[in-house]
Homo-oligomer: 430 residues x 2
Amino acid sequence: MTDRAIPEPEHRGGISRRGMLGLVGAAGAVVGAGAGVAGGVVAARSASATTADAASVHPFFGEHQSGITTPVQDHLHFASFDMMARTTREDLIALLQDWSYAASRMTQGLDVSASGAVGGSPEAPPDDTGEALGLPASSLTITFGFGPTLFDGDAGDRYGIAARRPPELERLPAFLGEDLNPDASGGDLCIQACADDPQVAVHAIRNLSRIAFGRARIRWSQLGFGRTSKTTAAQATPRNLFGFKDGTANILADDAAALDAAVWVSGADQPSWMSGGSYLVARKIAMLIESWDRVRLSEQQNIVGRDKAAGAPLSGGDEFARPDLEKTDAAGAAAIPARSHVRLAHPDSNGGVQILRRGYNFVDGNNDLGRLDAGLFFLSFQRSPAQFVTLQRSLSTDAMNEYIRHVGTGIWAVPPGAAQGSYVGAGLFS
Amino acid sequence: MTDRAIPEPEHRGGISRRGMLGLVGAAGAVVGAGAGVAGGVVAARSASATTADAASVHPFFGEHQSGITTPVQDHLHFASFDMMARTTREDLIALLQDWSYAASRMTQGLDVSASGAVGGSPEAPPDDTGEALGLPASSLTITFGFGPTLFDGDAGDRYGIAARRPPELERLPAFLGEDLNPDASGGDLCIQACADDPQVAVHAIRNLSRIAFGRARIRWSQLGFGRTSKTTAAQATPRNLFGFKDGTANILADDAAALDAAVWVSGADQPSWMSGGSYLVARKIAMLIESWDRVRLSEQQNIVGRDKAAGAPLSGGDEFARPDLEKTDAAGAAAIPARSHVRLAHPDSNGGVQILRRGYNFVDGNNDLGRLDAGLFFLSFQRSPAQFVTLQRSLSTDAMNEYIRHVGTGIWAVPPGAAQGSYVGAGLFS
């Protein structure tokens, strides 16, 4: 490797050699010793971090990555990254190691490194940017994914992993009603940071982006609030920006059978390095909220297939009643209309297909007409991209399509969780 | 008014006549009867709203508008509005009445009207957009302001109020280091919505914008998180995106003498309709965070004038120690450097001038270089715009200027609070 023409990190991106080596060295120590960060060798970021309710800390290492079945936090910062030109397999591995090390620390409420925001030499830039100093872990989860273009694309087999690309990990097919912005779609890598505090989620993406300097850079990113899904029965069902409850029938984190059937990758037809992983689909869905707001209540409810106040299906019962797709009124009309969202998305209309949703509302300022640029940043996890494709095709006749536009898209293979002392995606390189 | 050429609301903007009349009618009833919304005539938006902790509800009516000295909430949605062409004095008054009525309801955790999101006719669009159904008041405050162009500007004295413009309410002078975007500056009217829950703040701006259809429209808007100030001693001092504590020495809400001296308008040289009001300055400050992150810790601290970990002034003591601007080291150098932010902004460097700050961090996605588009949305309240001008001029030599750009600006006269049964700004029209 000494004769490679790639300049050293300090010349390529901006992070100082000291900072870079510090991170790599520390990560190396963890990986090498297999001791893990949880072993107590690092100091807590603050008193509040050490005294935070244990429930607000989700372990980074484990069978699955956190941030999939974790009770959905209220805030999201999502970032898609592209690898920089002329990076190597070793660069990619080092990046994933550095990211894993930093993520394992930040999810505990710690700075990105032992010297952190204020503990290093005063004559050097701090490793950590510092805006989360004093804040607890805030339920932070950091979830990594690999896009199709990481394996092969215009740049070819840059990292020697093309042969290990899961056959299903392909750019999603075109769907009716899309108006996609390529600059807000795709990406070699993605990071989903979710937290109870937006400052903690932003701190995570900012520092992971900084660690990536010279190796990968943000392609597009998205802030979200007001989760539109739930993953535990105890969580109240939130509302999307159409004012309807969203996520009532989501797969719950304690439903192991459903998770195995719908979310976790397994089986001989899948690469072994993906076992225990999942596929993440992101769709930025602009909502034409001013048009929607002019729709009469009865039609809004017919479009959704649920009542607006309680979220009950139009076939009757309470929010959690199973939609009765066969029920008709005296005149023979379906109680849940043929083109309603609930009917078209229901497992019974799709051969039993389910996905685990984890979306967020967004508002990105306003447009030139003085209208809010708002919508749903849809995120779903599934054991096969085919599940999403089936459902999205079913929604091609959705009456709601008049009021939404899919403007961004992406798909990533989400590897299983890293073993204590290892890093996310290690199986791909072994 | 019957011979005016202005079309009726239903033709001008999009809100239905039924919705408009419903809002106006209800507001009129409140104004006419002087009974007020708090009188119990309206139903709570939800069970959680009625059982919400009383501390999370801030009264809309009162001597001052809420959202100025109110303990700073964690989330902001700020919107600047321009009045539509050909609107009249009556339109402006009706808009302020409708806004006040809706704000008085939403700050209690109620829908914008009695029929609300689901209580009206199913054959009409709901008055309320519904995404806050079931959410408590969440400390929501809604604060209204009037820009210089509302009184007179290119459009002339549209509303018969030019003669009542406060002489100090003028476009701010140019400052060194500005790179202002005119499309993200100014505005005839502004609304600052702050809440513990971003969904509640967004719901407020969305619904007030909807109510304004045909009369005013959003010119620019900003979401913020992670308050960068505090207004009570009990609030922890938050950090800005440079990683430093911000707002340590802010004026506190219980310091009546300081508020009278620095925040509330009074005196014979001010229009009587502004007595008990304030002036609001907004500055969108882009932070060059990647450049800042490369600065060594000691220099970061010299630029700010405080230590990064504790927030203590470099002259010694703890966070709340008074900066000793005279202190020198053995070599005679100032402990708090001459061009440090703390020194230049300190009252002792500015003839005692203070302002009440209420800013928020923002992240608006990323730029084409893959860097986060981030910074500080600075908000301050002062009894005279001259206070802000004095401080901002003092900061012209601030060493921090290398790492920030002011990209948006605005100033508004914030009238006093509305009396129960009246509306914000009523004094301007009486």
